[in-house]
């Protein structure tokens, strides 16, 4: 299907340029709190990837912790009546 050199399934035929990769890397950099304010030419791409991995692991840990917290909180509550109130307050931000 794709030749050995072609890396992209999106743009037919054209290779992915280094610039496009650099764009994606700086887009990622903006998402990571630690690296957000720094200039993109001062942060190496591999540092961005490294921090991305750490950030994702951090987020996974937060999800775990919150699931744990919720499992203990739910032990003593009834959720149905509150749902509408929660959704409204959640989405108001």
């Amino acid at each position: 299907m794709s030749s050995r050199r072609s890396r992209s399934r999106q743009s037919s035929g054209s290779r992915i340029t280094d610039d496009q990769i650099i764009d994606l890397v700086s887009k990622l950099q903006q998402l990571i709190p630690e690296l957000r304010g720094r200039r993109s030419d001062k942060v190496s791409a591999s540092k961005v990837l490294q921090e991305t991995c750490n950030y994702i692991r951090n987020l996974h840990r937060q999800v775990d912790g919150l699931s744990d917290r919720l499992s203990q909180l739910l032990a003593s509550t009834d959720t149905d009546s509150d749902q509408a109130a929660i959704i409204r307050s959640l989405l108001m931000e």
């Binding site: 290779r15 496009q20 791409a45 994702i56 999800v63 032990a75 929660i86 989405l91």
Partner: protein
């Protein structure tokens, strides 16, 4: 998915889709409480597992198959060992094998020799479906995955704060 959430409530934003689904799942999980032992450690652990799966499922369903990572996550969730019913695994397995054939070598090199090596592999392990992605798609999917994870965390935090005494 909206990148810039307007100040008013937006019923079709990722956040509201996730929140609605997740709250629904929480009600179902809560309704399954066995009366005698709802606060025993085993029960709490079981509920923790169910909540975690519900969170991932709600997120993956809110994104549906628009993203490679969400497709991979949905596939993983459907073929969990405890879910023996349903699923035509044959078609899905064929698709995954085909995706794996496109995988490049371990040392990921950009066109001009920008080498990412180990970090890209680590990232591939963290992002669902990452093993089969080339560098460009991996970076693109990671950005979306992070946005969705942060939404998930925000919504779960709000719910937990709401129920905290």
């Amino acid at each position: 998915m909206n990148k810039y959430n307007p100040p008013r409530m937006n019923p079709s934003s990722l956040r509201s889709r996730f929140a609605t689904r997740f709250l629904r799942s929480l009600s179902k999980i809560n309704a399954k409480k066995p009366t005698a032992s709802s606060s025993s450690p085993t029960e709490i652990f079981r509920r923790y597992r169910r909540i975690k799966v519900a969170a991932d499922k709600s997120m993956a369903y809110s994104v549906r198959s628009r993203r490679t990572w969400s497709r991979a996550m949905l596939w993983k969730l459907r073929t969990r060992p405890c879910c023996r019913r349903s699923v035509k695994t044959s078609t899905i397995v064929r698709k995954t094998r085909h995706e794996k054939q496109n995988k490049n070598t371990t040392t990921t090199t950009g066109e001009d020799g920008v080498v990412f090596g180990v970090e890209a592999d680590e990232l591939r392990e963290l992002v669902p479906g990452g093993e089969a992605m080339d560098l460009y798609n991996l970076l693109d999917e990671t950005a979306h995955y992070i946005k969705c994870l942060t939404t998930q965390v925000q919504v779960m935090k709000k719910i937990a704060d709401f129920y905290s005494p």
